[in-house]
């Protein structure tokens, strides 16, 4: 049953890893602009279509 120490340690390490990831993402400004990416994501398809049209010309 002492495996529970191991499990506890692992669970806490995993939790802390995610927590650190959160702090880093905040620091890098990932949450500064939470609106524009949601719109930008919708452009992607059109862009690649445009690219196809342009590339042959080049």
């Amino acid at each position: 049953m002492s495996i529970i120490y191991m499990l506890l340690a692992i669970s806490i390490v995993v939790a802390i890893v995610f927590f650190i990831a959160f702090i880093i993402s905040v620091k890098n400004g990932q949450y500064d602009d939470i609106y524009t990416p949601s719109i930008r994501m919708l452009f992607e398809d059109e862009l690649s279509k445009d690219d196809d049209n342009i590339n042959p010309k080049n």
């Binding site: 049953m1 529970i4 120490y5 506890l8 806490i12 939790a15 927590f19 959160f22 702090i23 905040v26 620091k27 400004g29 949450y31 500064d32 602009d33 609106y35 524009t36 719109i39 930008r40 919708l42 452009f43 059109e46 862009l47 445009d50 049209n53 342009i54």
Partner: protein, 801 residues
């Protein structure tokens, strides 16, 4: 009527048809061509008529030629890569994002560009070998996205953002979640072999998780509580800090002495909810600036004429701060004059509406003194600097005390006022219960004493205001009434005197109503007048030209304009004069015009030297002012402070209720002192104004609101910005802020009810960790739900009518 394919404006007189599409002007058509030629026409598929018609920017960004100035705007400058961020107020839709992020298709030397929509900024990385900052700016202007560059963002490098609240919230949430899991097994009080064996590990883990919560996340509460005690104010943070420390100490004692599990879950939950409330209240409008001073009005650089030894004149772009007395500068049409100066060459027609509130421009001739803050409106002028920027008349206003002491009189929030009584009440209950148990059963005394402090921790009270105000702030934001911070809302509910500025606040900025008095003009005369005014550049001529019926344009045989007096034109032996009374009638000194229409803006007309009559220019008032004033004056005192002359008095009196007080000829400083005087009488004053001339009054008042036709540009330092189109909603805003205070009060009653339940457990000595763990989140969540629902209900009811 046809609308423009690019910008959606109605095409007025001339429709430009191009590729089966209609355009309102050549600017729009050019932008369309640029985008179309570069395979960017998807711009028009994303949104209907997304464009902005480009403005004339000739010479406006010449200051970026000056390398020293240009480098100040660069975020990054290494080898051949430069990065710069621009604020572009006209960003408004997804098409804007798309086209700005595809700038590299317009110019391959732009490497990347990224839009931040909420802040309306675009960050551009470009190759500095081929491009420079000015070219990038001009490229943006060419497609209609003119960046807003001012002194404001000149010196201040973007300061690092403060994320500490998010970190604190993250830490508290992280600990809260983990502690909940760890404390769960013991809630059921089962005596099981394995649980008994491991419970100590669990407890110490909880202790470890609670350490960052107490010492990092809740630090602000301790700091504020100590500050409050020092200045002898019992603020809401004192019982909170007390609750947190008692929770922590008692829980630690419990696990050390093996009495029980402690209240670590309640502790971390409490801090988490409190910080959540704080976070929620922090609604910021990142694209607005509430702290603007004169710097944001002024140009960054100005064209200076340098007389070199070879007697050759050269022009140079100089930062305004480097202007010295005696320098010669050039101001172009519609540029702002940044310094006090003497006019040397050219016709000055200066619009001081920013500074004084006077709507009509003033004519200046060579040798006249002009003051900083005026806007030149008629061609290029040359000036000689009298005083450097910091010493000029306008800038002096800002060195007044009002602008320097950031912290005005501390405002006692509704939460603070209740927490006074609350803290006293809780402490006395705790002591009474303690004394009672000391007599009755001393072993329980300490237990009860701490339990009272724990359960009474005013989490719910502390949450009521942030959530109510935060919600209302968002509601107002949707209605284009942007407040700087939540406590402005609370102050608004207390306002008993509302002071309005006139020009620009009660009137529209651009529209004039023009009426004619005198002998009616014949069709011929009108046609001639129309043709004459067409040539003149004076703003009055132009607005008069705009309202006259469209006539055939006759060729003028002779035309002359005398600055500050009027225009004269002859066509087929018919002479017409328009201008001041003296000019038109040639009775120079008699100037009867003053008697005829005192202090009104007029243009007199004579035909073949016969006096005909005059046009009177009225300010056009917002349609809603009668309604707004009527409804405001029911509960508040309403006043109008105008920098203008009293010419409009009678018109205004007809529009507003009779108990409205009107004051005219108020200089910026008079306005400030007027507000001060009202405050000295114990009034809570709200000042609503628009321009620099109100800046002092806005700053001095309890709440200063700047009204603006375009919220993205030009607003003085204030507590809130109101979009001019929402002027009619002012009474509703007041109503809703009153409701907000009421909701907070109801929430207090609700949370006191929870406290009573908790206290009944606590004083009888029955407070178990599980009771606290249920009661605390329950009270917090129900307060949040209650405030959210009620603000939405009232918000919809009052604003969506």
């Amino acid at each position: 009527m046809e609308t423009c394919f690019h910008c959606g404006d109605p095409c007025l007189d001339n429709v430009i048809a191009h590729q089966q599409k209609n355009f309102c002007c050549h600017g729009c058509k050019t932008v369309f061509d640029i985008l179309n030629d570069n395979d960017l026409s998807y711009y028009y598929d994303l949104e209907q008529t997304p464009g902005i018609s480009p403005l004339q920017i000739e010479g406006k960004f010449d200051f970026l030629d000056n390398k020293e100035i240009a480098t100040k705007f660069l975020e990054f400058d290494e080898q051949n890569t430069q990065i710069a961020s621009f604020l572009i107020p006209s960003i408004h839709c997804s098409s804007c994002i798309w086209v700005l992020e595809n700038l590299n298709k317009l110019n391959s030397n732009i490497k990347t560009s990224q839009v931040n929509f909420p802040e309306k900024t675009v960050r551009i990385t470009f190759d500095s070998d081929v491009l420079d900052l000015k070219k990038v700016v001009l490229l943006l202007c060419k497609i209609g996205y003119e960046p807003y560059i001012s002194l404001e963002n000149f010196n201040a490098k973007s300061s690092a953002k403060d994320y500490s609240l998010i970190y604190k919230l993250g830490v508290a949430g992280f600990a809260f979640g983990n502690i909940m899991f760890l404390s769960f097994p013991e809630y059921f009080e089962v005596t099981e072999f394995w649980l008994e064996k491991f419970k100590h590990v669990f407890r110490w883990l909880m202790f470890a998780f609670s350490l960052p919560v107490v010492f990092y996340s809740s630090r602000d509460y301790f700091v504020s509580a100590i500050k409050g005690l020092r200045s002898k104010i019992l603020n809401i943070n004192i019982p909170i800090a007390l609750g947190i420390s008692v929770l922590f100490i008692r829980s630690t004692l419990e696990i050390v002495m093996d009495w029980g599990t402690g209240f670590f879950d309640s502790l971390s939950g409490l801090v988490f909810f409190l910080l959540l409330g704080k976070f929620f209240q922090q609604k910021t409008y990142s694209f607005l600036s509430f702290e603007r001073d004169y710097k944001s009005y002024f140009p960054i650089a100005i064209t200076r004429i340098i007389n070199s030894a070879t007697a050759k004149k050269t022009e140079e772009q100089t930062p305004v701060y480097e202007l010295k007395k005696g320098d010669r500068i050039i101001i172009r049409n519609s540029e702002l004059i940044p310094v006090d100066a003497i006019l040397l060459k050219g016709n000055g027609l200066i619009d001081y509406s920013f500074v004084t509130g006077e709507a009509i421009p003033v004519t200046k001739i060579s040798g006249d003194k002009v003051f900083a803050g005026g806007k030149q409106q008629a061609g290029i002028i040359e000036l000689k600097v009298l005083k450097p920027v910091e010493l000029s008349y306008l800038t002096q206003l800002w060195s007044k005390d009002v602008f320097n002491n950031q912290q005005q009189t501390p405002f006692e929030t509704i939460t603070d006022s209740i927490s006074k009584r609350f803290t006293v009440g809780i402490l006395s209950i705790a002591f009474l219960a303690c004394i009672f148990w000391l007599v009755y059963d001393p072993s329980k005394a300490l237990n009860v004493f701490t339990a009272v402090l724990i359960v009474a921790c005013p989490c719910a009270i502390a949450l009521a205001a942030p959530f109510t105000l935060g919600n209302l702030l968002r509601f107002f934001g949707k209605e284009k009434y942007y407040l700087k911070e939540a406590n402005v809302l609370e102050k608004m509910a207390l306002v008993d005197t509302v002071v309005f500025d006139k020009t620009g606040t009660l009137t529209h900025n651009h529209n004039n109503i023009i009426t004619y008095e005198g002998i009616p003009l014949t069709a011929d005369e009108e046609q001639l007048l129309y043709s004459t005014l067409r040539v003149s550049n004076h703003p009055l001529s132009r607005s008069l030209y705009a309202i006259l019926e469209k006539n055939n344009i006759s060729t003028l045989d002779d035309f002359s304009e005398r600055i500050g007096e009027g225009v004269k034109a002859t066509a087929s032996s018919h002479t017409i004069k328009a201008g001041s009374y003296a000019f038109v009638t040639k009775e120079e000194i008699l100037a009867k015009s003053n008697e005829k229409s005192p202090s009104k803006t007029t243009v007199h007309i004579s035909s073949n030297n016969h006096y005909k009559g005059f046009y009177v220019f009225h300010n056009e008032y917002r349609k809603e002012i009668t309604e707004v004033f009527k409804s405001l004056s029911q509960t508040k005192e309403v006043m109008v402070l105008s920098g203008d002359n009293a010419g409009e008095k009678s018109t205004l009196e007809k529009l507003v209720p009779t108990n409205t007080k009107l004051f005219f000829n108020q200089k910026p400083e008079d306005k400030l002192n007027f507000i001060k005087k009202l405050q000295a009488q114990g009034k809570n004053v709200m000042m609503i104004g628009d321009g620099l001339n109100d800046a002092g009054a806005i700053k001095q008042s309890d709440i200063g609101i700047a009204i603006s036709e375009n919220v993205n540009v030009f607003s003085p330092a204030c507590d809130g910005i109101l979009d001019a189109s929402k002027f009619k909603n002012i009474p509703q805003f007041f109503k809703l802020s009153n409701k907000g205070t009421q909701i907070i009060k109801w929430s207090f009653i609700l949370s006191l009810f929870y406290n009573l339940i908790g206290l009944s457990f606590a004083v009888t000595g029955h407070l178990k960790p599980i009771v606290a763990a249920i009661l605390m989140p329950l009270s917090s969540i129900s307060i949040v739900v209650f405030t959210t629902l009620s603000t939405y209900y009232f918000g919809n009811k009052i604003l969506k009518k």
